[in-house]
Each structure stands twice: as C-alpha cells, then as structure tokens.
C-alpha cells in the first residue's frame, strides 16, 4: 500500500503533476497527497495542533484566573461574559478548561514517555537475551496484565498517596508491561534478521547490536503504541482524579472539574461538567485518529 503511493498515483488525480517541482508548493505536494489519502491523519493532525495551541495559549493567558473564587458569579449559565459559564465557586469554566487541558496533555505525554523508555528498554533486553530471564519477566508481565490497568493504577496510587507525582508513577507502572511486551515481540523478529547476524559476525558487541541494529528496527510499533498511550493516560489520570484519587481540587485538571460539576448536573447545571469532558474527548480523539493512521501504515508495511 505504501509502495503504491510512490508509483505516480498522483498523476491520475485531478491533473496534478506527478513529480513535484522545486517550488515551495511542490515540496509540500507529497505531504498534501498523504493528507488527502488519509483523512485520519488530516483530522487527527489538525485536531492535535489546535488542541495543543489552545492548551499553550490557555496556560500563558487564560481569559480569567482559573483559580479565582468569585462569590458574585456563582453557577452562571454560559453567556457572552463567561462563554462556558461559571462553577459553584464562581470560577470561569472556560479559563479552567483551557488551563486544565495543558495539565492533562503534559501528564499524558510524561506518562507515555516514561512508559516508552522503561518498557522498551526492558523489552529490548529481555527479548534479546532470552532464556530463563525472558521466561520469568514475561510471566510477571502476564500476571500484571491480568489486572485492568485502570484498577492497578488506582490501587498503587491509593497506597502511595494522592498527588500528581504519584498518579504519574502509578499509571506508568500500569502501562510498562504493555510496552515491554510489544517491544519484546518486535525484538524477537528483528533479532533473527540477517543484518543482526552480519553485525555479530563482524564482531559487534551485544550492547552495540542491541542499540544500533535491533532497537531501530523494532521501535516502530512501540512508538505507535506510545502515541496511543498519551490518550490512555489522559483517560486514566482524569478518571482517577474524577474518583478523588490522584490530582486534587482546586487544581483545574479536567477530571477534577468533571467531578466538581457532577453533583450539580441532576439539577440542570450541565456546563460545569460537560465542557471539561469535551476537551478530553477532542484531545483523545486527535491521538486516536493519529494512532489509526499509524496502525494503517504499520499494517501496510507488514503485509
């Protein structure tokens, strides 16, 4: 499938030149073509850029102070002054949402990054060394993975104590087995390849073969998984905060906000919970669209 995209398919599309010229528009042509071929990339990429931009701007300059309590403006419905309304303390919901978006994105990226580093390092070593070490590690991984990751993270976080650092640790611990297993399976494929045999034949050390030959060829699926994990992490961290585990009020973290508003929705004040939730949906949607695209590419390569 990827091979096909290079074979002048563009020539059949709307009379566009198949070979890009040296102009600026010409250099963009392959990118535009890829975007047109894969709407999931276009939608996901656009969404992610927009969400990130909003998070950055919202973090630097939120319309109102996200923590400022204002007794005169309690639980106001959305209006021109407060686009998303105000919560039960009179805080501006829009400001809290754009500010909280940054918190969730950052935590999601940190968790995914940590899980990627730890999981792929262990997966590389255990997959390459193999033997009884591999057997033991994989057995432990299997057992850890028989707990739903959300509940594992919940338990760890309760034991460690409720704060932002511990929620990151807890969710990372819950995700590492997924990364480890995935990296290991790619490493097992890469390990028996001819180029690894070649590297070993010319006397490369074990560490060198692992780092320079096996890892680069095994890292693809792991990176895709890491992207998706940003979405999982946002889900799980905000879900934990929603339950009162992890990040605590008055932080404008999105799950905390949804929980804050939850007690008021049965009496009709929906904006307090609904808007932060929409922010979560859009962010995770962006990540999932990109993951869908990457998965498509990966499958295409393998087929």
């Amino acid at each position: 499938m990827t091979a096909l995209t290079g074979l002048g398919i563009d020539a059949t599309q709307g009379g566009k030149p198949a070979r890009p010229t040296a102009s600026k528009a010409g250099r963009m042509a392959p990118v535009l073509h890829e975007l047109r071929q894969h709407p999931n990339l276009a939608v996901g990429g656009t969404l992610l850029i927009v969400v990130t931009a909003i998070a950055i701007v919202g973090h630097i300059a939120p319309p109102h102070n996200p923590l400022a309590i204002n007794p005169n403006d309690m639980t106001l419905a959305p209006s021109a002054a407060h686009w998303f309304g105000t919560d039960e303390y009179g805080r501006d919901v829009l400001s809290r949402v754009v500010y909280g978006l940054g918190i969730d994105l950052l935590i999601g990226a940190i968790v995914a990054g940590l899980a990627l580093m730890i999981g792929s390092a262990f997966g590389l070593v255990t997959g390459y060394i193999g033997g009884w070490f591999d057997d033991i590690v994989m057995r432990v991984v299997d057992i850890v993975m028989s707990f739903p990751s959300f509940l594992l993270a919940l338990t760890i976080c309760v034991v460690l104590g409720n704060n932002a650092r511990n929620v990151v640790i807890a969710v990372t611990i819950a995700y590492v087995p997924y990364m480890l297993r995935l990296t290991r399976s790619s490493v097992l494929t890469a390990r028996s390849a001819d180029y690894v045999l070649g590297a070993r034949a010319v006397g490369a050390s074990r560490g060198r073969v692992m780092a320079l030959h096996v890892l680069p060829n095994a890292v693809g699926p792991t990176l895709v998984q890491a992207t998706l994990m940003v979405g999982w992490a946002i889900f799980d961290v905000s879900g934990l905060s929603f339950l009162g585990v992890g990040i605590q009020p008055p932080s404008p973290e999105l799950g905390v906000q949804v929980a804050d508003g939850a007690s008021y929705i049965t009496s009709g004040q929906w904006w307090d919970s609904v808007f932060p939730g929409i922010a979560i949906v859009l962010t995770v949607l962006a990540v999932n669209f990109l993951g869908d695209y990457a998965d498509e590419k990966l499958r295409g390569q393998r087929a």
Binding site: T155, T189, L243, V287, N288
Partner: protein, 366 residues
C-alpha cells in the same frame, strides 16, 4: 484436548498465585504507609505506632505474607473498616449487581456493534464503513464517566424520561427476599413485579453508558473479521458455487465473528470491571465498584485489596472459560499445536518454547 485442559488449568493456578503475590506486593512492599493513610495526616506518633502494631505492619514481610495467604486460604479477606463486615461477604453480596450491569451492557454492545461491524466490513470504503470506523474511534475517545454524566443530563435532567441515577431501584420500592442478591432475579423469583419494572428502568442508563463505550472494540473486531473473511478463498469459492449472500453471511461471516468475539470477551470484560467503578459511582449502583470507591475515599485497605483481588480472580477465571470454549469451538487448538494456534490469536499461553509474536496488539488494551 485433555493435555490442553491440564496445561491451561495449571496456567490459571500459576496466574492466580501470581495475582496474590502482586496484590500483596502492591499493598505491603510499595513505599507507602497504610497506617499513616488510615490514621490521616495529623495522627500523632503514638496513635500511628499503635495502628501499625494492630495492622501487623511491624512484623517481617515474610510473616505478613504467610498470614495473608493463610487467611486467604480460609476464605477471609479481612474486615472492612467502613462497613464493619468481612470483606469477602461484602463483595459477594455486591457482585451480582455488577454482573447485572455487565451482562446488560454486553448485550447492548453486541446488538449494536456486530451488525454495524458486519455492515462496515461488507461495504469497505463506503459510507457504512466510514460511519463504523469513525464510530469506533469516537467510542474509544469518550471517557466513560463523562458519557455517564451526559446521558444523565439528557435523559434525566432534560427530557425526564429516565429515573434518577440513584442506584438499583426507587427508595420506596418493596425489597424482595435476597436469594441471589441480584435485585432483578430476586424480584422475578418472588414475583415483586413493580420492583422488577423499577429495577429494569434503573438499569437502562448505566447499561447504556457502559454498553456504548464497549461497542467500540466489538465493532472493530467484527469489522476486521468480516473484511478478512469476505476476501478469503473459501468465500470466493462459495460465491463461485452461487451460494446466496445470506448463506455466506450465516455460514462464514457470522461463525467467524462469533469465535473471534469470544476472544475479545476477555478484554471487554476486564474493561467492564475497570469501568464499573466509574459508572457505579455516577449512578450510585450498589455493586463492587461503588464498594471499592467508598473504600478508596475512606482508605479502607482491606476492602481495596479484596476488590482488586476479586477483579483479578474473575478475570483469570473468565479467560480460562473463554480459552476452553475456544478449544471446543476451534479444532486447531484442540488437536494441533494447541498453544501455537491460540498464540496467534491472543495472549500467549505458558510454555517453555518461544514463538515469535507479531506486534498485532497495538491499540488493544485491557
């Protein structure tokens, strides 16, 4: 078949033992202090020491582990601080409510996900396919707890067509004698018809919430299976023999979807157990999830431990059942390499051999 069964049962036992060890490690070895958490941040040193003594935290780790396992073998999960009852009893009386919810949600998800998935797979690249794919991605992007709240806002607070999110039944509903601790079954057995209707109407919103989110993985699996089968040689042969579309759907597609769904069931069910804590919290649903949430907010360690252990055990048991059913359905596992065929489909079974797994697990989660 017998060899496979024996090995699979052995695996389940090993996993269960591992689960006990992990639960113990998480609650005893991690650098937290349960006594400090239970006593609250402002406890003085004396109270703390007394509590540590009482919880046995001063004993050597090995002694603690031995007494923990000893209690487990006697069916004891300790006593809950907050309810004052044995945790095992608490969990057993609440589990049926969670199972009710899980069964209803799975039914909804299957009824929605399978037809949509088949339609999407048969019309690849056309409108139903796009709806199916976008729907699956969207379903995987909506937080369960938020969806629950939105559903309450719409169906209860705005349209007033569903009962309040206040547990299994109206507070004034007559309570039937507790034979099974499942309100629906109990009122059915004792003929409490108005309670039954009330319980069913309270079940709709939480089941819908869990079911809609659960639809995404089912739709995805159904779609990819349908795609695979529709382009297979045997379907081409069937078409060459002029079998009708209906026959192909029934004999080839539905059968393959059914076996593949069986394997997805393990993942989906674990997801339900993990998600039930969120949904039960929102709808005040008196299952083990709500129990766990109460335990978390009152830092009731015995209850939390018991809960996570129960979830692990339920999950392992369910996987065991699914694997055995799969072996019954699929002769390749029963007769052939057994584990090797299973490994291609799902998580590897335990064996000394190492088999290369294709990295096909991207995007699936438990």
């Amino acid at each position: 078949m017998r060899r496979y069964l024996v090995r699979r049962l052995g695996l389940a036992v090993v996993t269960l033992a591992g689960i006990v060890v992990i639960v113990f490690c998480v609650t005893h070895v991690l650098p937290g202090n349960p006594a400090l958490v239970a006593a609250g941040g402002h406890a003085n040193a004396q109270t703390l020491k007394a509590l540590e003594q009482q919880m046995g935290l001063n004993e050597p780790l090995w002694t603690q582990f031995r007494s923990y396992v000893g209690n487990l073998l006697h069916g004891s999960l300790g006593t809950s601080y907050s309810t004052g009852y044995p945790v095992a009893e608490d969990l057993l009386t609440r589990l049926p409510a969670t199972v009710e919810l899980a069964v209803a949600a799975t039914t909804i998800a299957t009824l929605v996900g399978v037809p949509l998935g088949i339609l999407a797979g048969l019309r690849e690249g056309r409108l139903p396919d796009w709806i199916g794919r976008v729907g699956a991605i969207l379903g995987a992007s909506i937080p369960l707890y938020w969806l629950g709240l939105v559903i309450i806002v719409l169906f209860y607070a705005t349209w007033h067509i569903a009962p309040a999110p206040s547990g299994e039944a109206n507070a004034f509903a007559a309570t039937p004698p507790a034979y099974t601790h499942s309100l629906i079954l109990d009122s059915l057995i004792s003929g409490y018809w108005s309670t039954l209707v009330d319980a069913l109407s309270h079940l709709v919103l939480p089941a819908l919430t869990l079911g809609l989110v659960e639809t995404a993985p089912i739709l995805k699996v159904t779609r990819s299976t349908t795609l695979e089968v529709a382009s297979s040689d045997y379907v081409r042969t069937a078409r060459a023999y002029a079998l009708s579309n209906w026959q192909i759907l029934r004999n080839d597609i539905l059968r393959n979807v059914a076996t593949r769904l069986l394997t997805t069931l393990g993942i989906v069910f674990a997801f339900l157990l993990g998600g039930s804590i969120l949904v039960e919290r929102i709808y005040d649903w008196p299952g083990i999830g709500l129990y766990a949430w109460n335990a978390v907010t009152s830092t009731d360690f015995a209850a939390i431990q018991g809960y996570i252990l129960t979830v692990g055990v339920v999950y392992v048991t369910l996987n065991l059942i699914v694997d055995i059913l799969y072996a019954v359905v699929d002769p390749r596992i029963r007769l052939g390499g057994g584990a090797a065929a299973a490994r291609r489909q799902r998580r590897p079974l335990w064996s000394g051999r190492r088999v290369v797994e294709l990295p096909s697990t991207v995007g699936t989660r438990r």
